[in-house]
Point group: C2
Chain length 175, copies 2
Amino acid sequence: MMLKVPPPSLDSALDTELDPALFREGMSRVAGAVHVVTTDGPAGPAGFTATAVTPVTDTPPSLLVCVNSSGRSIKTLLQNGVFCVSTLGADDELVAETFAGRRDLNGPDRFTVGTWDRSKADQPRLKTNLVAFDCKVSDARLVATHHVIIGEIIAVTLGERRSPLIYQGRSYHRL
Amino acid sequence: MMLKVPPPSLDSALDTELDPALFREGMSRVAGAVHVVTTDGPAGPAGFTATAVTPVTDTPPSLLVCVNSSGRSIKTLLQNGVFCVSTLGADDELVAETFAGRRDLNGPDRFTVGTWDRSKADQPRLKTNLVAFDCKVSDARLVATHHVIIGEIIAVTLGERRSPLIYQGRSYHRL
């Protein structure tokens, strides 16, 4: 049986859904600073590596973290309602790998890598941070597979001025 | 007359609103890739420089741009409903400065700097991009002074593999 197929439109390239592999390859070309997002509170300590962190507004000072909703750490973070973003220097690649889950350490065990202290909001903070932001969750919104979390910043620590850790082309770089 | 002042609480550092200048200094320590976000359509051409760009999800492929709501370019972008994000290489600092509004060029005049072609979605695209993402606006949300725009990606162009332009410590760097 013949099926009637509509003629291809000029817009056909835009009508088909984009290949997720091409999207990921495209995003791998974009350089990003590397952060660890950590939390502690009634739900316990947890943390994960993130490059998807951006400032939002300075009234009130806020930032945004985008994170896969399937991980355990994000559930803990949302339960605690408070978190710290530590921006990594070039020497903290091992911390980045650990909190990205590439060293088979989970939950509290991840904090055995790196040097940690407590922030003003009593959150785990990487002591060798370039800068750290204490945040309380002001909004968390599910967008398909990910949560877009907006954190109102309640404290900022300025660390030493050293080379940042940069992730691009699926590898780490220093500036 | 004496006023009764409550005793300082242990949490006082967290109860006071964070100084926006400290927030901006903190954010200046975070390295970021530099992009130009451009648009064309019924409302005309416009564009601006952005570092606050992150991937959101790959189902469907989406990214997020955070931009000050007071600019003219954002209004044009929302009217057109479509835009292109071109990620800049280290040699395109002048394009970054132009689209950041630091060279007194506005609207279509900004496109006299840099080399431009048209993307699949018929948007202005920087020809020397490292990667470019055509997007249609799938959500735009006002957060105080800024818009958080989620764009569903409808096309990706992979450019040449060259050093990205990085902004950190209020100056430009190459990787």
